[in-house]
C-alpha cells in the first residue's frame, strides 16, 4: 500500500514547476497589495464623511395606495405586491438592501395584514442583525471586511386563482448564501395555501419525495456536475445526512402552469455549489392524493 502511495506521490511531485511561477507570484502579490491600498484610501475618505444610512420609505401608506387602485373605474381589485419600505446601508464595505414587500388589495384584510406584518418584522430583524454584525466587525477592527445582505421578493405566479410570492435573502461574507421563502395565496377564497392543504392525507410526503429522488438520480446521470445528497450518490455522506424525504411543510409554490414546485434552500439537499434547487412535480405523481384540481393542474 505504501508503495502505491509513494509512486503516486512521486508522480504528483514530478509535475515540472514553470520558470515563470516566481515572477507571476511576486507580481500577483504586488498587484493585489496595490489594489488594496487604493481601496483603503477610499475607506478612509468614507469614514470621514461618516456613515451614510439611507432609510427609504417608498410607499408606506399601503391602504391609501390600495384605495387609490380601487377607486379607479374599470380597474379590478387585483392583488398587488409593492415595495413597502427599503432598508438600505451603504458604507464602503457594508452593503444592505432589504426590500420589504407589502401585499395590497386583498379582500381578506386580516390575512393581508398578517402577511405584511410578517414581512416587515422579518425584514426589520434582518436589518437589526446586519447592523449588529457591522458593529461587531468594527469592534474587532476589521474595517476592510466586506459583508452584505440583499433581500427582496419576486412574484412567481399571478393568475386567476393563484398568487405566489417568493422572498429571498442573499447574505455575503467570504461566500454568499441564499435563502428563499414562499407564500401562496388562493385569490378566489382569499386564503393562504399550505402544502398539506392540497392533499387528502399525508401520502403526499412520500409521493413527492420519491418523485424528487427519481428526478435527482436522472439529473445526476445526465450531468456529472450535478450532485445531490441522496443515498448511493455520494459515499462520503452518511445515511442520516442524505435526503430521503421532504418536510410536511416543505417550501413550495405553484407555477404559472399550475404545477407544484418544491424548493430546497442551499445545502438542504445538495452541496453549496448547487445553490437553491427547485423540482417541478409532475401532477401524475401526486394525482391520487390531491384534494382537487383547483390549484394544481
Amino acid at each position: 500500500m505504501n508503495d502505491i502511495l509513494e509512486h503516486l506521490r512521486k508522480e504528483y511531485q514530478s509535475v515540472p514547476i514553470p520558470e515563470e511561477l516566481d515572477l507571476l507570484v511576486n507580481r500577483s502579490i504586488k498587484e493585489a497589495l496595490r489594489t488594496r491600498k487604493v481601496k483603503r484610501l477610499k475607506v478612509k475618505g468614507m469614514t470621514a464623511a461618516a456613515a451614510i444610512l439611507v432609510f427609504l420609505i417608498a410607499i408606506n401608506a399601503s391602504t391609501t395606495v390600495a384605495n387609490a387602485f380601487s377607486s379607479i373605474p374599470g380597474v379590478e381589485r387585483i392583488i398587488k405586491v409593492l415595495t413597502l419600505q427599503e432598508f438600505k446601508v451603504k458604507e464602503s464595505n457594508y452593503d444592505a438592501d432589504i426590500k420589504v414587500p407589502a401585499i395590497t388589495n386583498m379582500e381578506n384584510k386580516e390575512l393581508q395584514l398578517g402577511l405584511n406584518q410578517k414581512y416587515l418584522d422579518e425584514s426589520k430583524a434582518l436589518y437589526d442583525q446586519f447592523q449588529a454584525e457591522i458593529e461587531e466587525l468594527k469592534k474587532q477592527g476589521l474595517n476592510d471586511a466586506h459583508v452584505g445582505v440583499d433581500a427582496g421578493y419576486e412574484v412567481k405566479t399571478d393568475n386567476d386563482t393563484i398568487f405566489s410570492i417568493g422572498r429571498y435573502i442573499v447574505q455575503t461574507a467570504a461566500s454568499s448564501s441564499t435563502v428563499m421563502q414562499f407564500d401562496t395565496i388562493d385569490k378566489k377564497n382569499q386564503r393562504l395555501i399550505t402544502l398539506p392543504m392540497l392533499f387528502q392525507d399525508e401520502q403526499y410526503v412520500k409521493q413527492i419525495s420519491d418523485n424528487i429522488i427519481a428526478q435527482m438520480k436522472e439529473q445526476m446521470k445526465g450531468d456529472d456536475n450535478k450532485i445531490y445528497w441522496i443515498a448511493g450518490a455520494t459515499d462520503y455522506i452518511s445515511i442520516e445526512e442524505s435526503f430521503s424525504s421532504i418536510k410536511k411543510d416543505q417550501s413550495f409554490y405553484i407555477n404559472k402552469d399550475g404545477k407544484l414546485v418544491i424548493v430546497f434552500n442551499k445545502y438542504e439537499v445538495a452541496p453549496g455549489s448547487m445553490g437553491i434547487v427547485e423540482f417541478v412535480i409532475p401532477t401524475e405523481a401526486i394525482e391520487g392524493d390531491l384534494v382537487s384540481h383547483n390549484y394544481i393542474k
Binding site: E11, S28, A32, R36, A174
Partner: protein, 167 residues
C-alpha cells in the same frame, strides 16, 4: 496589524508557491490554467485576508482558496477528464518498468475528485488530518472516511489492472 497579517500571508504564499501550483495543476492538468489559478487565488487571498479570523490557520485557508478557485474554473470550463477503456488497456499492456508510473497516475486521476483531493492534501502536501478537514470545510471523521475509501479504491483499481495483465 494589517501589515503584519499581510506579511504572514505573503510569506505563506511565497513558501508554498510550488505546492499551490501543483495543487492547482492536479485539478486542471495544464500549465497555463494552473498558473491562472495561482494568480487568481493570490489575488483573492490578498484582498480578503481581513475575513480570516484566526491567522494561525492561514495555510489551510489559502489552500482552500486555491481549491475553490480550481473547482470554479473546472465548473466554468466543464472539463471532463475521462479515460476510455481502450486506452486503459493499452497502458495496461505495457511492461511494468516503463509504464508503471503512467498506470499509477491514471489511477489517481481516475479517482473521483472528492477522494483525490484528500489523498493529495494528506499524503502529497503532508497536511494533518485536521488541516485537511479545515481546507475542505469538512469534519475530521468525514475526511478519515474519505481517505479510507480512497485508499481502498486505489488498491482495488490496481488489482484490476494486474488481473488484466495476467490474462
Amino acid at each position: 496589524m494589517n501589515r503584519k497579517t499581510d506579511q504572514i500571508l505573503t510569506d505563506c504564499i511565497t513558501e508554498n508557491k510550488e505546492n499551490i501550483y501543483r495543487l492547482a495543476y492536479s485539478y486542471v492538468k495544464n500549465k497555463e490554467d494552473a498558473l491562472d489559478i495561482v494568480q487568481d487565488a493570490i489575488y483573492k487571498a490578498m484582498t480578503s485576508i481581513e475575513l480570516l479570523k484566526d491567522k494561525a490557520v492561514v495555510k489551510s485557508w489559502f489552500y482552500r482558496i486555491v481549491i475553490n478557485t480550481s473547482l470554479d474554473f473546472l465548473r466554468k470550463h466543464k472539463r471532463v477528464h475521462s479515460m476510455e477503456q481502450e486506452k486503459l488497456e493499452f497502458y495496461a499492456m505495457g511492461t511494468e518498468d516503463s509504464y508503471t508510473d503512467i498506470d499509477l497516475a491514471r489511477t489517481l486521476e481516475d479517482l473521483p475528485s472528492k477522494y483525490r483531493e484528500v489523498v493529495v492534501l494528506r499524503y502529497f502536501e503532508d497536511l494533518k488530518i485536521e488541516e485537511v478537514a479545515d481546507v475542505l470545510h469538512e469534519n475530521v471523521n468525514t475526511v478519515k472516511t474519505r481517505l479510507y475509501q480512497a485508499l481502498r479504491l486505489l488498491r482495488v483499481k490496481l488489482k484490476d489492472t494486474s488481473l488484466k495483465e495476467t490474462k
